[in-house]
Amino acid sequence: MMQSISEAGRYPVAIQDLTVAYHRKPVLWDIDLHTPEGELIGIIGPNGAGKSTLIKAALDLVPRISGRVLIYGKPYREQRHRVGYVPQREHIDWDFPIHALDVVLMGRYGRIGWFRPVTRAHRRIALEALDRVGMADYAGRQISQLSGGQQQRVFLARALAQDADIYFLDEPLAGVDAATTRVIVDLLRDLRTRGKTLVVIHHDLQSVPQMFDHVVLLNMRVVASGPMTDVFTPENLVKTYGGKLTILDQAAQAIASGE
């Protein structure tokens, strides 16, 4: 069901009829998704469910077979400055000769524009972003000398430096230490209170009820999407994950603890 563009303009992210395939193998089918504004939205589903692909398709990073993605009613191309992105850490060469501050400055490149050098004002904004994730002391560190959690925070700071309205985060809590988890969760909540919309891929079912306002259950198609309490139910989880016992146990615990 296609909605008119004007209607879609109310939503930070409106995904309509999206289908993505790699080498003729469909990864996402007929995704229809409208995210509410100013909320923490969790995208949850098993491995290979297409969670990362959904974000990448929304950001024009993978080709779509059909469908469209609108950011506040307009194509992503026109709204890039309003969207921040925190990709997974795995595909990065952490041995790259670059310091933490330089990585964060990359978040400003879009605003600086072609050929122009980085100015002191941008440097200050980048430093502030590092400070917000508690990494100001590490500005001059080479990135390979940071722990996994610190690297993740640098990536988050880079997205913060973009000063966007919508943030897409691909598993920001995967493999990070407890201190980083706390910093990131606090920061996400802080951003939400400032009216930002946060779309977060998340793998740990147990922490879903505490973290998110809105949940999207995904397994190649949208199984369910809506407010956390309505959607995060055992029945929906069975539909998403199949009958895997361990996962259902986790979910049962999570739901019980959330109540």
Binding site: Y85, H91, Y109
Partner: protein
């Protein structure tokens, strides 16, 4: 040796060194600028992990040179117009690069296969065309082979001007697109999400590589050109952890290799410049690998020894502390200072861990020198006030970390100790603080929390 004598006699060596000869000056300037440009653009190429693409591109220029020669002959020229030949090389090099990118994109072949195919097919085609040229126009074609191995002696002032002009363009482009290239090399996906035209940036970067290769054909030759693109940045990486300084160092090393190589080759008869330039670059690389201040082998070895020493030292202090703990059950933090100067037998500490006698003796001596412990003539070891303070710090960090692992990572307590021994030395103050908070209940009882598992 005889060549050297011969040269020394007519004073040619001095003439070369002082750049008296006009042609020598031209060649030097050309190779220096070439080295500078390839050092800079090679840095991006290396960081983009496309180093071998430079090799495929340089080999791919050969058929272009041959075809350009044929066309120029067909139109009545001698076929030796350098600009024409290089233009042919440029077109073929770009075509080779395009083929690699297309094969990678539209088939499921990996990049190494695409590179192998393009390099060998283009080069083979070029060799075949050279054979045809040799047969159809005997005499005129002689000299085309010099593009394969490089031949600086044939360089004219005009050629050097070409190299200088192109090098300048490459350097300016590299400077103007510094921000964009570094983003592309570091995080292509993020660059794409920000709307940077990743494909076109790639094409521009690789286009600059092709131009560099083509202007290097004359001096270095297509077989060895790859060395000037890869070796200087790889060597520069040993000296720095920042891209900006890596570009400068790499450019400087490339320039030095080009200059020194051409100088040496001009000083001795029958020494091909390309081979000497590459040899010089190789020497620079070896030196950097050994002595590089950021990640040279020597630096790392020294660092490793330092870490190892430190670890052994902390083990010893911890062993002494834990010994006291076991043997003084009624001990409380208020009386912790009572542990100062309590004797422990050295043999007992020695038996607490599997250290080698040599490293044990060494660490005991170094702790003595640092006034952390004292030894009396009966081989009894005592902690000093400083030593006790340090031991407390070490044990505390260690236990906090152990507790953290036990509580938060689902690692069985029996497995923790070995792991923690290694990790405690890299534990930052921030995380220690975090652990303190987490384990407050446990730490409140004593200055140092008790070990979460039975001490053996």
């Amino acid at each position: 040796m005889s060549a050297f004598m011969e040269m020394a006699q007519d004073g040619e060596w001095l003439r070369v060194l002082l750049l008296r000869d006009y042609n020598t000056r031209v060649v030097m300037a050309g190779t220096l600028l070439l080295g500078l440009a390839s050092g800079v653009i090679g840095t991006f190429l290396l960081l983009r992990k496309r180093a071998l693409l430079g090799d495929a591109v340089s080999h791919a220029t050969l058929p272009g040179i041959a075809i350009a020669f044929m066309i120029m002959v067909a139109f009545g020229g001698l076929g030796k117009q350098l600009e024409g030949l290089l233009l042919g090389g440029l077109v073929a090099g770009l075509a080779g690069m395009g083929c690699v990118l297309l094969i990678r994109r539209y088939t499921r072949l990996k990049e190494d296969a695409a590179l192998g195919i393009v390099l060998s097919v283009f080069f083979g085609l070029g060799i075949a065309l050279l054979g045809i040229i040799q047969r159809m126009e005997s005499g005129h074609a002689a000299g085309l082979e010099s593009f394969i191995y490089g031949k600086t002696a044939a360089m004219l002032a005009r050629d050097a001007q070409w190299i200088a002009g192109c090098a300048l363009v490459i350097l300016l482009a590299g400077a103007a697109l510094y921000k964009e290239f570094s983003l592309l090399c570091f995080d292509e996906e993020y660059a794409g999400s920000q709307g940077w035209p990743v494909v076109w940036l790639d094409v521009v970067m690789l286009g600059l590589v092709v131009v560099t290769t083509v202007i290097g054909l004359q001096a270095v030759g297509l077989i060895l050109m790859i060395a000037l693109l890869i070796i200087p940045p790889a060597a520069a990486r040993f000296w720095t952890n920042r891209l900006r300084s890596m570009l400068l160092i790499s450019g400087g090393m490339g320039a030095f290799s080009g200059f020194a190589g051409a100088l040496i080759s001009a000083s001795f008869p029958r020494l091909p410049a390309g081979a000497i330039i590459v040899t010089v670059a190789g020497a620079v690389f070896l030196f950097s690998m050994a002595f590089g201040s950021a990640r040279g082998v020597l630096y790392r070895a020294v660092d490793h020894v330092r870490v190892k020493r430190n670890t052994v030292r902390e083990h010893l202090l911890r062993a002494v502390y834990e010994h006291h703990e076991r043997h003084q059950p009624e001990w409380t933090p208020r009386e912790a200072s009572a542990l100062v100067d309590v004797p422990v037998s050295l043999d007992e500490i020695m038996g607490a861990r599997s250290w080698t006698p040599r490293s044990f003796r060494r660490v005991v001596r170094s702790l003595q020198r640092a006034h952390r412990i004292r030894l009396d003539d009966r081989n009894a070891l005592r902690l000093t006030t400083d030593g006790l303070r340090e031991a407390q710090r070490i044990v505390r960090n260690h236990r906090l970390w152990e507790m953290y692992l036990i509580r938060h990572a689902d690692i069985a307590p029996g497995h923790v100790d070995r792991n923690a021994d290694r990790i405690e030395h890299v534990l930052g103050p921030e995380l220690v603080h975090e652990l303190e908070e987490l384990l407050k209940a446990d730490t409140e009882r004593r200055n140092v929390p008790p070990s979460p598992h039975a001490l053996s």
